[in-house]
Symmetry: C2
């Protein structure tokens, strides 16, 4: 993992690194291959070919434009791996293979790229996935913002698993597997222009092992990670898909004090701040207590809490029962309070 | 296909279109879904789930940053679909499902986005593939160059097909399925700064149907589309993988007169100019004549020609036999003569 920088002829990304010619090949063979090495990637082909068994597969993609690219608790690299791993896991799949497409700005220090790529390699190992195909483009200075990464991923869905937002049903409990809003506040704190100090680190993490353990023991109806738009928007999406009403218990929301304080300072609602290592689990209420204890066995799930219930069907709504007993409607995020959070 | 612009509240892309909130949902439900509509995309999930049969699959990804985004013969949208379809086809696969990741610059006219997305929809239909998952991010004005698109794709590899650069063998013929350098010159002609007039249109096209027909009838060793880096770099890559020597016949190269003239004007070598609707086919020489006639049955293959042979093994080299009978070594492209060609 500690390969020295091999580019004696350049210490930053040049347009020629995206040419498809000699410097492109050096970038691939000296930086990407050593970090991501696996037999599928090294087929030296336009794509990779692998055997599959009969069954079901999940397939997803996400682009990452987070700013800044390095932030407390992670960088754009692990965010890109974990984001796609978690999207597959939220389909009920066991993530297998990922692709990585890089768009680089001329002038990006190669040391930054190497640091990002090594982080991706470690995150992929942690999630037990392989990066099997990739692509690199370079654009002129000022035509992108240092680095954008697209990751795609595929995985197999084990038999008897049926995860879909359409399955949210009256009587289901809503579990939030971890703290709310931590990633968003960590990013904001890293943006110089805001300049407030906080010790919060992004919660970016692969959740596939925790979710596999959960799915092996319990029937789950819906899984969804509340990234962009946060818990508020994500639950609204599910409520709309399934046409159900949800009621959240304000007192049960796992919002850390630092997130609460920073949100008040910024005038934003923690329910709309992104998490990157948290998942919303909707499942029959009778299984909720046991599911909680499964989640809590994992470090990513130690703050898991039952935050609400699906109370009615027919029309979509998400309500928050406040400490005073009143109900507040939680609508979908209007406008973009936190651009480029992922 | 002729949906009117539904965005009465905005005629260009806003940061809020990437927020994950209300405007993101409108963009998805009013622009992307109507264009790409298919049941898999509309699972309203973090990814799509589909059944697979036992066998082999191919998986690939590519990002597109072509400039300008609209050019003679196409735009960034069909380039992104055809590029990934052709990468799968060059693995010997039947392309099935594609993903699309959009990075949009704040201020991009929604009419431009709609035109691109509709082109993608038409190209996908032509190649018989479905866009089953997607993602949209928006960055601030000046932080990208209007639009970048990543496409990923998966396909099934039929039994008994084994395409790999490692299989190029002594005695093989090298076929070029179409004209050389057309896409690159079309892009250059579209860049205002160059300002020369030409009637050349990009050759961007899906090649999967033509290649399926070829693979159904003939044993093929290698397939590769000479995009970035052109025929010269692509053959060098294959020669290195297989450690073989190739000799090309200059007189046989299908280089249109307009490409030749524009290349001379610009001082560049057509062998290093990208094609986007052409494929290099390497197969046993005894099958070459029949393979040519299969390719020529398709409009994309009407200019197909045998351009050279694999002559020796042991070390990698690509040589060009000129009209005077001398041999010139063709090395891999050094530097980037044509940035952002795809």
């Amino acid at each position: 993992m500690s390969c020295a920088l091999p580019f004696t002829d350049a210490d930053c990304v040049l347009l020629e690194h995206g040419s498809g010619g000699r410097l492109s090949h050096r970038l691939i063979s000296e930086l990407f291959y050593p970090a991501f090495k696996n037999p599928l990637l090294q087929q030296e082909h336009d794509g990779c070919v692998f055997p599959v068994e009969a069954g079901r597969m999940a397939y997803t993609t996400d682009s990452f434009v987070v700013q800044p690219i390095f932030f407390p608790g992670g960088n754009i690299g692990d965010l890109a791996i974990n984001g796609t791993v978690n999207d597959l896991a939220c389909c009920g799949a066991v993530p297998m293979y990922l692709t990585a497409g890089f768009i680089l700005e001329e002038g990006l220090p190669l040391a930054d790229l190497q640091r990002i790529v090594e982080t991706m390699s470690r995150s992929a190992a942690k999630a037990n996935v392989h990066i099997v195909a990739g692509d690199t483009k370079v654009v002129e200075r000022g035509k992108c913002d240092r680095i954008f990464i697209n990751t795609g991923g595929i995985g197999t869905v084990p038999p008897n698993i049926d995860i879909s937002p359409l399955r949210a049903a009256v009587g289901d409990a809503i579990i939030c597997s971890g703290n709310i809003g931590v990633h968003g506040i960590a990013i904001l704190s890293a943006r110089e222009s805001l300049g407030f100090e906080t010790v919060l680190q992004s919660d970016t993490a692969p959740l596939n092992k925790m979710l596999s353990a959960l799915l092996a023991q319990h029937e789950v109806h819906v899984l969804r990670d509340p990234t962009r738009g946060g818990v508020g928007t994500t639950l609204n999406e599910i409520a709309r898909s399934a046409k159900v009403e949800m009621v959240l218990d304000e007192a049960a929301l796992p919002i850390p004090e630092t997130v609460r304080a920073a949100s008040e300072l910024l005038g934003i609602d923690p329910l709309f701040i992104a998490s990157e290592g948290t998942v919303l689990v909707i499942l029959p209420e009778k299984a909720a207590a046991e599911a909680l204890s499964v989640l809590r066995q994992f470090p990513e799930g130690k703050n898991a809490a039952i935050i609400g219930r699906v109370t009615a069907s027919g029309k979509a709504s998400v309500q928050l029962k406040t400490g005073y007993g009143s109900h507040r409607i939680i609508t979908m995020l209007n406008g973009d309070q936190l651009p480029r959070i992922c």
